[in-house]
Amino acid sequence: MSDLAHDAAVDLGHPEQESTGVENRKLGMWVFLSSEFLFFGALISTYLLYSNRAGFQGTYPAEVYDIPFTSVSSFVLLMSSLTMVLAHNALSGNDQNGARTWLFATAALGAIFLAGQVFEFTEFIVEAGMTLSSNPAASAFYVLTGFHGAHVAIGVIMLLSLWGMSRRKEGLSERQGMNLELVGLYWHFVDIIWIIIFTVVYLLSIRPA
């Protein structure tokens, strides 16, 4: 894009685009999310490597999973993707009240998921005695689910920031609307990573043969 065209795009509040035909920030977010597959793939692989290896002292994660509880947590996170996309849809139709409401609902569901994770970790540590240093399988479990929880926490902070901006008199601007779309992409990605973790880590419940 030439400097002149670039300046004109900025002045008119239009999204910046390169020769890809995609808005730069949106492309950047998709590339970032794509790279996150490698990050979580490494953590999931580490968990798989140690969870079926016999001979470690202490409790294995698969021995202490509470599937009904984690299923409810998974359902909560899945439904937060619905509220997120409804927030995006509302803002697309310039429904500021709707966007504000659905944004808050998404942040609240994310916070409920995090509270569930804190409860789960507490149960595992206090009741089952499985700590971060119990054995490599437990370490891999806590690091994987903990990093996912950290991603959820960052998402909740971003959602609450957008919600705070949306409460101003003028509501969310067009540029902030793009921010909402980017936060939405991040949030849905956190959800799809949990879809994988819930299946591979919890439901398959891999343990030493």
Binding site: L38, G41, I67, N89, I192, I196, L203
Partner: protein, 104 residues
């Protein structure tokens, strides 16, 4: 702007229907966990669970993240990362004997 034509995004009612579908798929996954505990389906259980997770993954990426309505550039970038990760870690886990053990 793009010269490509994209279908219209889903309506809120369609988003709700997709959510119901995702909830049902999750319920089937959890049911599979208990069925496997009772019947020991072995590798059939893994295949079903991974297929259901894959279906949920595709639904969220395609409809909620709107990837099926976006430029193909985004699909290529996203798919590249996913395929790279799957390929790399499948190789690593196979080399370390994890998948061989699971595959019997």
């Amino acid at each position: 702007m793009t010269s490509e034509q994209h279908p219209a995004h889903p309506t809120p009612a369609q988003y709700w229907k997709i959510a119901v579908l995702l909830a049902v798929l999750t319920a089937v996954e959890v049911a599979m966990f208990y069925i496997n505990n009772a019947l020991d389906l072995k590798y059939f259980n893994s295949i079903i669970l991974l297929s259901l997770a894959g279906l949920k993954f595709v639904i969220v990426v395609g409809w909620y993240m709107h990837l099926r309505y976006e430029e193909s550039t985004l699909s290529r970038f996203f798919s590249a990362g996913f395929i790279l990760a799957i390929s790399l870690y499948t190789l690593v886990l196979t080399a370390l004997g994890v998948l061989a053990v699971r595959g019997g």
